[in-house]
């Protein structure tokens, strides 16, 4: 099997997957949760399945109180409401009004986040992403410092980060689309998922790179392209099996893990698959493309 020979095809596949997400990101942006924007989230658990009429009633009460509602969603007996930040006092009044007019329920969650906290959380998340990426490049550069010529450890680091950025773009793009059409929110769980995917992506990439390093030591760098291709093929079984186990576990979580972590698991699942793809079909081929460029310049 010649993976490196078709490398541009694989790059094109990646681009085709990433572009719709980027377009959506440009058009619709991200559907940020109240953790980042500030606001309140109420969860009401009714005794019976919620009807559309009840939802309308909830809408009416909020508009009477002049509380701007971002979304109201229902799922069987539960209603999830997102609004501008409301105080606990306002919440008390609302709840008694709702109980009187819409029907009896229990308030199972009340969460409110001030805008300052929201901004901070977002900033911290971004900082975390950048710092994690930089540290990973540094670590790979350090750990692969003894890699034989013709390549260099710095290139390994950059290639790993390109794969990582690929996975982050796939995820963020997908969630921009999901956010616009299905109302899926970007919350701190999503950020956690992204950071975990970064860890995984690099994890996968390193396994492939480690093999390249070993083979370069064995056969030298005369035919770099062939060496990289061999290394990918030798680690293919492992990459596939590992990804499959993790994907199976995530499927179990998706099916049985409940609503709260559903989109978190979806993010992990997509990131996992993307991470495996990018280590095999992006990270390693980038090393070859980079080497070709340098060779051409020398001639």
């Amino acid at each position: 099997m010649n993976i490196i020979g078709k490398k541009y095809w694989y790059f094109i596949i990646s681009i085709i997957i990433i572009i719709p997400g980027l377009v959506s990101l440009y058009l619709y942006g991200l559907n940020l949760s109240i953790e980042f924007t500030g606001g309140s989230r109420l969860t009401l658990s009714f005794e019976k399945t919620v009807t559309d009429k009840q939802i309308q009633g909830i809408h009416d009460i909020f508009s009477e109180k002049k509380i701007k509602v971002a979304t109201i969603e229902k799922s069987q007996q539960d209603v999830f409401i997102r609004t501008r930040p409301i105080t606990q006092q306002e919440d008390q009044f609302l709840i008694s009004d709702l109980k009187a007019r819409v029907g009896s329920f229990k308030q199972s969650q009340y969460e409110t986040v001030g805008p300052t906290i929201g901004g901070e959380t977002l900033l911290n998340a971004l900082k975390g992403l950048v710092i994690a990426s930089v540290l990973v490049v540094l670590y790979i550069t350090f750990s692969f410092r003894k890699v034989p010529k013709p390549t260099s450890s710095f290139r390994f680091g950059i290639a790993a980060v390109v794969a990582l950025v690929h996975d982050v773009l796939v995820l963020i793009g997908l969630f921009s689309i999901l956010g616009h059409f299905l109302g899926v929110e970007i919350d701190s769980l999503f950020v956690t998922a992204v950071l975990t995917v970064i860890g995984f992506s690099v994890h996968d990439t390193i396994v492939v790179f480690d093999r390249i390093r070993e083979n370069l030591k064995k056969v030298g760098g005369a035919d770099f392209e062939q060496t990289v291709n061999d290394s990918i093929l030798q680690t293919l079984d492992r990459s596939f099996n590992t990804s499959l186990t993790v994907v199976l576990v995530l499927f179990a979580l998706l099916l049985f893990g409940g609503e709260t972590i559903r989109w978190f698991v979806v993010a992990l699942l997509v990131g996992m698959i993307s991470g495996t793809y990018s280590s095999i079909f992006n990270a390693a081929p980038i090393l070859v493309v980079w080497q070709d460029l340098i060779n051409k310049r020398r001639k």
């Binding site: 956690t192 993790v246 199976l248």
Partner: protein
């Protein structure tokens, strides 16, 4: 590195027995905590569950430091924390968390109250309540000065505050039978109170709680004993509440709620049950998958995986003895289930490597040793990079993110131990 696998085997067995023992739940009369009592470890060994699993309230409060000089802000925040801790303890919440945090120029107190979901109660105990002040009439009643509320025009604040109170109690008015709050001032407060009453004989003194006028009695005579009574319009409950609040002390700075979250316990339990079930299903899938893929090797890896799970759970439980207890949250459990998947990866790496070496014509034993030594560099590098990300997650995340990062990091470390030591020892014994 060629140690006798016997010693390692005994080490593994020892650790497993210990971990198994730690993980045992209370069954009937048997309770593993008995041993800890004998060892004089005062705490009970339990999993610490986060608010999202147990239900409860979490609050982020911001202190309004506008009236405090720069040098005293930190100590004002600390004393506010002490007051809140006292109030929370009066409330009988088990294992509350009260922390201070200074972000840029914002002074905050973070409060977590497991099991408490009555927002009304939370607000009354942790809000900006119980700033008791006493006001007297200005010399010229027409002067417009700072006033606690609209009716207080013409009054100025005295130096007597809730901080001068030594003790409070609830009693009943002998005439009307209505509940009232009795105050006993400290010696300092007694002096101040005597001064205030001396100055204002025949004039009203306003008692103000949190900018609300409670009552405005007219002073009949100077009170030198340091006893006072507030006879506002109380019910037994509100009188008790005020008394409790005044006993705990007034907040040195006003606090406002920046963010709060209340989760019903039922929601938490449902989430816990679901994710545990998902974890068990995932675990079984992995074991079947490994056994199908790698046969005998897979069975060995599955044993290692069971031990991995035991060790991890034991660490979670034992951590509750240290100040750095691991709080299990929903995302933490997801992280743990995920780390099971990652723990398998090390085994897969090694087994694939062994297969290659076997194909190259090496003997089984050589293949085992080569499989481990050659797979080691990728296991090390990939796990270190995961540790780096979990470290970053931990330092920048809050709450749930931290729980996840910590669990992931511990999972990675334990998985390296289970792959390198446990699986290898088993293999060496089986293929001797």
């Amino acid at each position: 590195m060629r140690k006798n696998p016997r010693y390692l085997l005994w080490l593994i067995i020892g650790l497993s027995v210990l971990a198994g023992f730690v993980n045992l739940p209370k069954i009937g009369n048997f309770n593993p905590n008995v041993v800890f009592e004998k060892l004089n470890i005062p705490k009970e060994l339990t999993f610490r569950k986060g608010l999202d699993l147990e239900g409860g309230t979490s609050l982020i409060l911001e202190a309004d430091m506008s009236g405090i000089s720069k040098a005293q802000k930190k100590s004002a925040l600390d004393s506010a924390k002490v007051v809140i801790e006292k109030r929370v303890n009066l409330f009988g919440v088990s294992e509350p968390i009260v922390q201070t945090s200074v972000v840029n120029q914002d002074f905050r107190i973070i409060v977590e109250l497991p099991g408490l979901t009555d927002t009304e109660k939370v607000r009354s105990l942790i809000g900006t309540t119980a700033q008791l002040t006493f006001w007297e009439q200005e010399a010229s009643a027409s002067a417009q000065t700072a006033s606690p509320s609209a009716e207080q025009v013409g009054f100025k604040q005295t130096n007597l505050t809730g901080a001068d109170i030594k003790q409070t109690s609830v009693s009943f008015d002998s005439n009307t039978g209505k509940p009232q709050v009795q105050l006993q001032f400290t010696s300092e407060g007694t002096k101040k109170f005597a001064d205030v009453t001396k100055r204002n004989i025949g004039k009203p003194v306003a008692i103000v709680l949190d900018n609300q006028l409670i009552e405005q009695p007219t002073v009949q005579q100077a009170i030198l004993t340091g006893d006072a009574v507030i006879t506002g319009n109380f019910t037994v409950e509100t009188a008790n509440q005020l008394s409790t609040q005044l006993n705990a002390g007034a907040l040195p700075v006003p606090l406002k709620i920046l963010s709060s979250s209340v989760i019903a316990p039922t929601l938490g339990t449902a989430s816990l049950e679901k994710s545990l079930f998902a974890g068990i299903v995932g675990f079984i899938i992995i074991i079947i998958f490994m056994c199908v893929l790698y046969g005998k090797l897979g069975v060995i890896a599955s044993f290692a995986l069971i031990l991995y799970t035991l060790f991890n759970l034991a660490i979670f439980k034992l951590s509750s003895l240290t100040p750095y207890g691991i709080t299990l949250t929903l995302s933490g459990i997801a992280g743990f289930i995920l780390s099971i998947g990652m723990a398998v990866d090390a085994n897969i790496l090694i087994f694939e490597r062994m297969k290659e070496e076997l194909r190259a014509g090496k003997s089984t034993q050589t293949a085992i040793e080569l499989g481990f030594s050659r797979a080691w560099s990728s296991i090390r590098d990939s796990n270190i990079s995961t540790l780096i990300t979990s470290f970053v997650l931990y330092s920048f995340g809050t709450g749930i993110v931290r729980g996840f990062a910590l669990v992931l990091a511990i999972g990675v470390l334990v998985s390296m131990f289970s792959a390198i030591v446990v699986t290898r020892t088993f293999l060496r014994l089986v293929y001797k």
